[in-house]
Point group: C2
Chain length 347, copies 2
């Protein structure tokens, strides 16, 4: 049987099929209309993914491309303390692309969106020599609930909401299927799943202390402007790696950090597979784990770790000294100063 392509169904035919992935009331006007909750700020983030740059058929079937694209954007909303209102999707694709591929892409997006209670509200499709997916996500947040990178203070501890390195390990297994024979089948599947279907931590947003409570208990009430004083939690997501997140927060806040090597949230399956050093490297620099890295007072962090469970952990603390140091409390490894140079460059 011949594969049905975009060219076969035409732009209108494809649009019609893709509209099945949107709520019907969002379709049919020049723009979608959404009803935010009262007195919320609007949070907006956007990402572009390009075939062969951000994904390849080898490692990511179209359902996973869609899931990952949505997860990355929802993770950015979670990192701001926001809950999602919806996303728009701008798809560029060659006219020879199979309709099945495109529908699987949207299926993956909607699977992820549904899990987090949100929807595709609009989009555009157009011919392009390469498949590209541009997603913009909008969310809403109470003014005092906004989480920024720039408000970390010395004395805060650094909380990580879950394990790291699994996405990087899953990618390795997908690129080199002959590797990891020593892994249990379930661990192997877990690591691959972590790469293909990462979970943005929107669940954390609902578990953060209520903004009003934050405000009343804030020890930062003196000597700072209104917006700084009220931001008791600072942070971002770890999409570009745990080390990158800590470094970015420190740079934006004009502070440094101390990370405890023995407290790093290394994914358990990594420990049984890779050397301790590789496991640490992937945990710090692997990227795409889409956890949150939050800086907040110790007591509040302990309570949040308890509520989150799983691999959530306190991994270090913010320091006045601007360096970001990886410390080994056992003294076996020398201290290491981390830098942004090891981050990912897209060009």
């Amino acid at each position: 049987m011949e594969m049905l392509t975009i060219q076969d169904v035409g732009e209108q035919g494809l649009l019609k099929r893709l509209q099945a992935f949107c709520p019907p009331e969002m379709v049919g006007d020049d723009a979608a209309v959404l009803t935010p909750l009262p007195e919320r700020l609007l949070v907006v983030t956007t990402d572009v993914l390009v075939e062969h740059v951000h994904f390849s058929p080898l490692t990511t079937p179209p359902i996973s491309v869609g899931w990952r694209a949505v997860a990355a954007n929802l993770s950015d909303l979670a990192a701001m303390g926001a809950l999602p209102l919806g996303i728009t999707v701008g798809l560029g694709a060659p006219s020879t692309t199979s309709v099945d591929w495109v529908e699987d892409l949207y299926r993956g997006m909607v699977d992820c969106l549904q899990r987090y209670g949100t929807v595709i509200v609009g989009g555009d499709i157009c011919r392009s020599p390469v498949i590209s997916v541009a997603i913009t996500a909008f969310g809403q947040v109470q003014p005092r609930g906004v989480i920024r990178r720039s408000t970390a203070l010395p004395g805060d501890v650094i909380l990580v909401t879950g394990g790291h390195g699994a996405s990087r390990a899953g990618l390795e297994l997908l690129l080199h299927p002959e590797m990891g024979c020593e892994l249990a089948a379930i661990d192997r599947a877990t690591l691959i799943r972590a790469h293909q279907y990462p979970q943005p931590r929107l669940d954390v947003v609902g578990k953060l202390p209520h903004p009003e409570a934050l405000r009343l208990s804030s020890p930062r009430a003196s000597g700072m402007n209104q917006s700084t004083r009220e931001a008791l939690i600072s942070g971002m997501d770890s999409s570009d790696g745990l080390a990158d997140a800590v470094l970015q927060i420190c740079r934006a806040s004009g502070v440094g950090a101390r990370l405890d090597r023995s407290a790093l949230p290394i994914h358990p399956a990594l420990k049984t597979w890779k050397s301790a050093e590789t496991a640490v490297q992937w945990t710090l620099y692997g990227g795409e784990d889409f956890e949150l890295v939050l800086c907040l007072p110790l007591e509040m962090a302990q309570s949040l770790v308890g509520e989150l469970g799983g691999a959530a952990a306190i991994v270090g603390a913010i320091t006045p000294d601007p360096d970001v140091r990886l410390i080994d409390p056992t003294g076996v490894q020398p201290d290491e100063i981390l830098s942004l140079d090891r981050g990912f460059q897209h060009f």
Copy 2:
């Protein structure tokens, strides 16, 4: 002197340069934070433009590519009755693209945004074998001010906010510079400008009757649901052509229309250049004029035409008969039934 490319400055270097086009408070977090006015609905629209599909170096310098991309999105907001809050920009580009080209693109976007009092609030850049620009625009509108396609009623007149065909004519002059020698230099420049720097009609939104006034004076108060009853003005923009707009509104509203050939808002420079028949064709099907096509009661339309001035005109009326007919009141031309088949297919 060597041309500086994206590869030369790297992703971080390019991002730094592009951040100069955003308000500083929008940069540096996982997402931008915006403050909508109280009790507004959020309106969202998105468009993807791809080099050689939607623009080419021959007809559109990068400043114009940026302007047009923004204008198209702002026009969609205007078509919903909304005023802009901001846009995000997702840029894909080969690493050999000149930095000047990219900066001119952003300059064009910001020129258009500034004119309408709004800004770039976020974005993403990534490597791609072809230049693509994905823009998402967000606006806000009072719940009773939303303009939809689906609420036109027989008895409404059809108001067009300005002249049509100029963008199509400008494109012709850009593609065939040897043409149009008979045009006055100023007309030639006007037509080219209409193509390269179209004006979204956000100014019209501020001149529409106040939503509360609409509600009180509505003759549609019986037999319809709440949302339909309150929507006294329906419409969309004419980005895909004036005929397409009327046809889409009629299809969405389950009505038909009568367009008066002698009332069509043919751009004056077209009349002196092209045959009457070509001028009518470009006016109906040319596209990218980014005017608004509004359906509303006669008296209100007359008052709005007076307020808008220029080429704003009443061009026809909505009919219960589902056909869309082009009528020649002089009887010289036979009636014509318009259909969607002549619209633009992107694949």
